[in-house]
């Protein structure tokens, strides 16, 4: 399946925006860019690598762009875990944000209950023809943990380079204690 590469899954969705709703979307995304707590929830979900939204009024064609009756909302995400788990988490953890974004689109049934929400996403999803990840074996949480481990290891090496064996062993035990949650 081209939407999956190792632990990573791709999702690509495009939906038509209601005529009155574009300013609402602009406001929602402004809040996302400028009010840091709005993105904190995405960080808390901890399985999203990268995600983006775009508002498309004219589809690029090399000239002025093809203008259709509706503006479109584009969404893509790169995440680890299954498609169902991903939509479940969106529905359970950030339903308010999902509603604020997709309530502007035709046909959106709301983030809860989750089954109609899943059906809506499936109906508007495009399956990737080719998908690539630079580190397909890694989950988002592993990448974030690995950075903490690398920083701890770097500090440990600098602090312990001249220590005698017993002091080194004690410092090594403390290192493992400090990073055990990231291993």
């Amino acid at each position: 399946m081209a939407n999956v590469e190792g632990k990573a899954t791709a999702i690509t969705v495009m939906t038509p925006v209601k005529p009155w709703a574009r300013p609402v979307l602009e406001l929602v995304f402004w809040a996302g860019r400028n009010l840091t707590f709005t993105l904190k929830k995405l960080e808390d979900l901890s399985f999203i690598h990268f995600a983006r939204w775009a508002i498309i009024s004219r589809f690029p064609d090399g000239g002025r762009g093809e203008r259709l009756y509706h503006t479109y909302l584009f969404f893509e995400s790169n995440f680890n875990g299954s498609w169902d788990e991903y939509i479940d988490a969106f529905s359970e953890v950030v339903p308010g944000r999902m509603k604020a974004i997709w309530d502007t689109s035709y046909g959106f049934p709301g983030p809860t209950p989750v089954e109609p929400f899943k059906a809506y996403i499936r109906r508007n999803e495009y399956v990737a023809n080719h998908y690539w990840s630079a580190y397909p074996g890694a989950a988002t949480s592993e990448i974030i943990s690995a950075r903490r481990v690398a920083q701890a290891l770097d500090g440990f090496k600098r602090r312990t380079s001249g220590l005698p064996p017993e002091a080194f062993a004690a410092a090594y035990a403390r290192l493992l204690t400090d990073v055990q949650a990231d291993l």
């Binding site: 860019r33 990268f50 983006r52 630079a134 580190y135 950075r147 090496k157």
Partner: protein
Amino acid sequence: MSRAGHDVFGQAGALTILAPVEPARAGDLAEVLDGLGTGADSPLARVHGTHFARWVILDQLVYQGPPQRRDVWDAPRLLFTSNFDGSLEDHLRALRIGLGPDGDAIFGHCTGYPGSAGPAAWNAWVRARRVPSALFFAAYGEQTVEEVRINLDLRARLIAFALEAQGLEPAALRARFKEVFPL
């Protein structure tokens, strides 16, 4: 332009390209994309500094039913998205050179594609089909692909070392640590 807009999070950038496909050639394009190597054999593996990327053929917009007015594209679209390190200029150069003939075989199905031999024409073609993000999120936007891979490797090595070094005397522990994690 390279760092402007809402396509930057930390040091990471987002690129979204939507290009009309020659209407009679969408089927042929799907075959080309299906035939690409995956993982380390993907042409995207040659594009330095790319975290995730995808190609998706969008045959037509999804109609939600009344009261939405039906929109129809003149031609199918080829979507390309990437999440990359550093500046857009550097990424476009890496894409043009890294994809090489594979990129020409893919984007050559799109209207007006000039080929990758001329950097100026190629860059202009891509930029004219770029869709800016309204909101871009990166869970670890401060890390480059190289750093992610190095950190994951260090973490894996520390896990292996912790298992291997259980029960070693302090002098042996220190000596073995310095072998596995040289300064």
